[in-house]
């Protein structure tokens, strides 16, 4: 019986993250447009964009190898798997034993690796430029992420996400200064990883400073749809991961009734919406940073993470 419940919840989550991802991206775009006093495209526009892209024919460069065609599927699957592992509305997932922070980071890194390879494969200058920038950002963001993982695992005693969520919701984690620092670091890392504004501008592929868009410039049709979907999924993933680590209230735990799970679902959707609005406000307030100032921002994230680990060691016993 339990196996069936867990399986059903897992299937529901896997489907839900994919179904909600374009809506979330649409919501962020809509709020941003409204904040700039533009009318904004409807939130559901992103779904029709995906439908359009899926209908269109794929155009591939002459000198593209099999790798170029493989990459979109690889990236999409890695990110989708990662997104379905994070406990969003319930910790009773069938694949919960695999939901480990380190595994999650590995999945996302392999997606990034694939994307950079695909960008390099066709040999256009934008692809190489985007790939090298992406790798630079990744090499700065990853140490900060590791520090966050250290803090969380020192606090909760594990990197296993469902256990972390359970521990955090029971121990008033938000009162711990280390957790506060880790949360700030997490915001910085998430902005970098999801290619949002101070790091990269998701709204344009016409800038010389673009990073993610430069890498996917040559993709079209269903390949582009998969890559864009992976981008949207990543946004859902990072928002859910943030909620799971730092605001884990409402997630249904062991021995939850169906009502609890439904409530958890509602709370998760509300959390996502609030996160999307906050992200849009943040993006409107900030300007895109110069590429060489990113080291300061992400280095700041790393230092916050380091500080939180130090304080966790010093005051961990209190």
């Amino acid at each position: 019986m339990e196996l069936i419940t867990e399986g059903l919840i897992q299937i529901a989550q896997t489907a839900l993250v994919l179904a909600l991802a374009p809506g979330l991206t649409g919501l962020v775009r809509w709020v941003k447009a409204r904040l700039l006093r533009r009318r904004g495209t409807p939130i559901l526009q992103v779904y029709s964009d995906f439908a359009r892209l899926l209908r269109k024919k794929v155009v591939v460069a002459h000198n593209a190898s099999w790798l170029f065609r493989l990459v979109p599927y690889l990236v999409f699957n890695a990110v989708w798997t990662a997104a379905s592992l994070v406990p969003t509305f319930s910790t009773q997932l069938l694949f919960a034993p695999a939901a480990d922070l380190i595994a999650l980071i590995a999945l996302l890194s392999s997606a990034r690796f694939g994307l950079a390879l695909g960008a390099l494969d066709i040999g256009t200058s934008f692809g190489g430029l985007g790939a090298s920038r992406e790798m630079m950002i990744a090499s700065l963001a990853e140490p900060a992420m590791l520090m966050i993982v250290f803090t969380v695992s020192l606090f909760a005693g594990t990197t296993h996400l469902p256990a972390v969520a359970e521990y955090m919701s029971q121990h008033q984690a938000f009162l711990q200064v280390s957790v506060l620092l880790a949360a700030i670091a997490m915001v910085i890392v998430s902005l970098a990883e999801t290619a949002r504004i101070p790091v990269d501008n998701p709204a344009t592929h016409l800038e010389l400073t673009m990073v993610h868009e430069a890498m996917v410039l040559e993709y079209s049709g269903r390949h582009l749809a998969l890559i864009e979907a992976a981008g949207s999924l990543k946004l859902v993933l990072y928002l859910s991961l943030f909620c799971c680590l730092f605001v884990p209230w409402g997630i249904a735990h062991q021995a939850a009734t169906p009502l609890d799970i439904l409530a958890g679902l509602g709370i998760w959707v509300i959390k996502l919406a609030v996160g999307a609005v906050l992200l849009a406000v943040l993006e409107t307030c900030l300007a895109k940073m110069r590429l060489f100032r990113l080291a300061d921002l992400l280095g700041g994230g790393f230092l916050f993470g380091l500080l939180s680990v130090i304080l966790m060691f010093v005051f961990g016993s209190l």
Binding site: Q172, L175, Q176, V177, S178, L180, L181, I184, A295, D296, G299, G300, L303, F304, L306, L307, I310, L311, V314, F315, L318
Partner: protein
């Protein structure tokens, strides 16, 4: 959540002190003058909250006055005055630093580590609340000094000085029963210092047409 639970009380004091350290890093990170001043206002606001919380925990109503002084003078009046000075004097709107942001922030983290290493053995027998309070106060103090020595512009050095002052007050309220006289004198000292610095800034500018303190060095080779 029970606010009378000593553990929760401890954690809230700890959170407020920690937030001050975090804002101090924000102070070090900012590269525009107006954001530095705003960050200082946040710094003072959190100090006010931390002092008010200590007043609540220690049951010392006179500390509420210190909190009010912090909130009214330091969080509202001083930042407004500094914004005025920056506008009036046409100070360079970017913060001029001696080292890059990254190096300064790294030095900051090292200083926080130093504060922990100094204060933990010293306060071993006086309870966790005092230990935490003094560690954070020491860290704020150190970061204020760091801010003063890594900035070229006199206005940012004044802000570093006042952030340091905030650290002193945080340290003072952490130990039981500091008499009110001392607090008021500290607050006045800050105001006096601010006035003195204000005059000083006007003077430097009148004399050198800039607020860059390098001009004060007789051996400096900056063309005037």
């Amino acid at each position: 959540m029970e606010f009378s639970d000593p553990k929760v009380q401890l954690q809230i004091a700890y959170l407020l002190g920690g937030s001050m350290v975090v804002v101090n890093f924000a102070l070090l990170y900012q590269s525009r003058m107006s954001s530095v001043i705003n960050a200082f206002a946040i710094h003072a606001t959190i100090l006010g909250l931390a002092v008010a919380w200590q007043a609540n925990v220690q049951n010392a109503p006179n500390l509420y006055i210190t909190a009010a002084i912090a909130l009214v003078f330091k969080a509202l009046a001083l930042p407004a005055a500094l914004h005025y000075v920056v506008r009036k004097l046409n100070v360079h709107r970017t913060v001029e630093m001696v080292f890059g942001t990254g190096l300064t922030m790294m030095a900051g983290v090292a200083l926080v580590g130093l504060a922990v290493m100094i204060m933990q053995p010293v306060t071993q027998h006086s309870g966790a609340l005092v230990t935490i309070d003094l560690i954070f106060a020491m860290a704020v103090l150190f970061l204020g000094v760091l801010m003063m020595i890594t900035r070229r512009n006199a206005v940012t050095q004044v802000i570093g000085f006042m952030a340091m002052e905030n650290g002193l007050i945080l340290a003072a309220v952490g130990v039981h029963g500091m008499p009110l006289v001392v607090e008021i004198s500290v607050a006045l000292a800050v105001l006096v210092a601010f006035i003195v610095f204000g005059l000083f800034l006007f003077r430097i500018r009148e004399r050198f047409y800039s607020l860059d303190v390098r001009y004060l060095d007789p051996d400096s080779r900056i063309p005037q």
